[in-house]
């Protein structure tokens, strides 16, 4: 009983598509069985809402009078440096950028109160942002400095382009040392004081399409509260990690690069984020619809937390030193229970990724599709899967001289 995306879109247009979330599908399949549900359900919606460092926006500011060439100059938005390696008035702002005068970890642990992720939140919230720039001046762009307030609504383009989002699974971070450590996985108390994980588990987009059989370049998605697209596989895309029998990666695996119009997004789904002692980032809301083209794809979407495993990694030594090895694996049912066992000790576990928000995203996307406002797309190219052999390689160091 295979369906095509065209057929599903026909039903969506008529307001007749049956859409459920990746959480709702679990019970449904358990009650009615794969065969019946594959017939009944057209789309399963997923969601995730977590810190995603490789995120950012590029802005076209428009020309000032007289014209200024920011390309090759220096520019700041609310004192956060943006990249000027483009044409005259295009700049890129990244989620982890910090003001030049931020003390960083000079006063340890650094507070990291404001950075790129916060500027993005302010922009999308419609707040005025201070642009300050200097340029070297040319015959056609004679101006050498500018300082002005800008507002997203007055700019030409403000495009969210995130080179890596929506990691398919992630580590569980613990601390084996005898001092507190401050990491991108949060504050980790000494001697296995706590364990932090970061995935929406059974709701997470790529965990519901483990081999990327429906998600690819051109897939229309929920991004930051608006419509966006998958633009490419994300950096560090690593399909060849260990998987369970049902195909679910047991370690960080696939990722996607995504794109969308920031002007249409909402600060609810793009939140400036601080990790004490580590830095700043952006917490991004993403939801991907999965067309139920056949029973196999449906089965993947019925994956549940108890079937998804993650590796426990020591962030005091193994991670920073790049040493291989895991302290064991746990599933997301155990993790979300709030307690796991590591080296025989009961350790409180907590998430960095909001399950409540992931659920909300999946529900919003479901609503869009049910109302006929969101049609599915056929990817123009699929993401590299297991057969690509693609792996995540370390940096080979080679002396310059």
């Amino acid at each position: 009983m295979a369906k095509t995306i065209k057929e599903i879109n026909e039903k969506i247009r008529k307001g007749k598509a049956v859409v459920v979330t990746a959480e709702e599908i679990i019970d449904l399949v358990e009650k009615k069985g794969v065969k019946a549900v594959a017939k009944e359900v057209d789309v399963v919606t997923t969601g995730t809402f977590g810190p995603m460092c490789s995120s950012g926006v590029y802005l076209n500011l428009g020309h000032a009078k007289p014209k200024i060439k920011l390309g090759g100059g220096k520019a700041y938005l609310n004192d956060v440096p943006v990249y000027t390696g483009f044409a005259a008035v295009d700049v890129y702002l990244g989620a982890t950028a910090l003001p030049d005068d931020d003390p960083r970890n000079k006063v340890y642990p650094g507070e990291f109160k404001y950075g790129g992720g916060h500027v993005i939140e302010d922009l999308v919230a419609g707040k005025d942002v201070r642009l300050k720039a200097t340029a070297y001046g040319t015959d056609c762009y004679p101006r050498k400095e500018i300082e002005t307030l800008i507002n997203i609504k007055d700019l030409n383009e403000v495009v969210l382009y995130n080179p890596r989002n929506a990691y398919q699974n992630y580590n569980v971070a613990v601390n084996l040392s005898d001092r507190v450590i401050y990491t991108y996985m949060g504050v980790l108390q000494p001697n296995l004081g706590n364990a932090n994980y970061c995935s929406a588990g059974q709701l997470s987009p790529l965990l519901n399409d483990p081999y990327y059989e429906t998600i690819g370049i051109g897939t229309r998605i929920f991004l930051g509260g608006a419509i966006g697209y998958v633009a490419w596989s994300g950096t560090q895309h690593n399909p060849t990690v260990k998987r369970t029998k049902n195909g679910v990666p047991k370690a960080p695996a696939g990722t996607v690069a995504v794109i969308g119009d920031l002007k249409k997004m909402s600060p609810d789904w793009l939140v400036g984020t601080t990790f004490t002692g580590y830095g700043v980032t952006s917490t991004v809301g993403i939801g991907i619809p999965i067309p139920i083209l056949n029973e196999k794809i449906l089965k993947y979407t019925a994956v549940k937390d108890s079937q998804i495993y993650a590796q426990i990694v020591d962030y005091s030594e193994a991670y920073p030193k790049g040493l291989p090895g895991s302290l064991g694996e746990v599933n997301y049912e155990q993790l979300t229970s709030g307690k796991i066992r590591v080296k025989g000790k009961e350790v409180p576990a907590a998430g960095l990724s909001s399950y409540a928000k992931a659920r909300e995203i999946a529900q919003i996307l479901k609503g869009w599709i049910e109302k006929g406002k969101f049609l599915l797309t056929e990817p123009v190219e699929y993401l590299p899967s297991v057969d690509s052999g693609q792996t995540f390689k370390p940096l080979k160091e080679r002396p310059v001289k």
């Binding site: 809402f49 949060g186 002692g277 907590a350 399950y355």
Partner: protein
């Protein structure tokens, strides 16, 4: 039964005295040490939650004052800003008293101020600055 959260500042001369023992033994109070910074030959700081009969409580506090200990009510307060909270739950595992609770069904956080001992762990752990300290 009455409950009070108090901050004790005592001079180094009293650091070696078993004050908590006396509160329990002589005044029949239940005590819970919320925070402590007690170093030999220096000043001491103790944040206590003291529970007991109202009269016992008052007598216990008088006993402490008579010893020369400066007593204040716990003035700092943790404020949880629900609007800023994304309900990620990272505060859950770092809170020593389970003052943050996640509802299993809604997967949303709530904050039980009564349980909070103002250890401030959550302040640094919250990525969204949804937790503030009020003075």
């Amino acid at each position: 039964m009455a409950k009070k959260r108090i901050v004790l500042n005592f001079p180094h001369s009293l650091v070696d005295k078993p004050i908590t023992y006396h509160l329990v033994k002589d005044y029949d109070l239940i005590i819970n040490i919320l925070r402590a910074r007690v170093t030999p030959r220096e000043e001491g700081l103790l944040v206590l939650e003291v529970t007991g009969d109202k009269r016992d409580l008052d007598r216990g506090i008088k006993f402490l004052k008579d010893l020369g200990i400066k007593i204040e009510s716990l003035a700092q307060d943790i404020k949880w800003n629900e609007k800023k909270c994304t309900h990620c739950g990272v505060c859950l595992a770092i809170c020593p008293t389970e003052a943050f609770i996640m509802d299993r069904k809604s997967r949303r956080i709530s904050f039980d101020k009564e349980r909070c001992i103002v250890c401030e762990n959550c302040l640094r752990a919250c990525p969204y600055k949804a937790i503030e300290i009020l003075f």
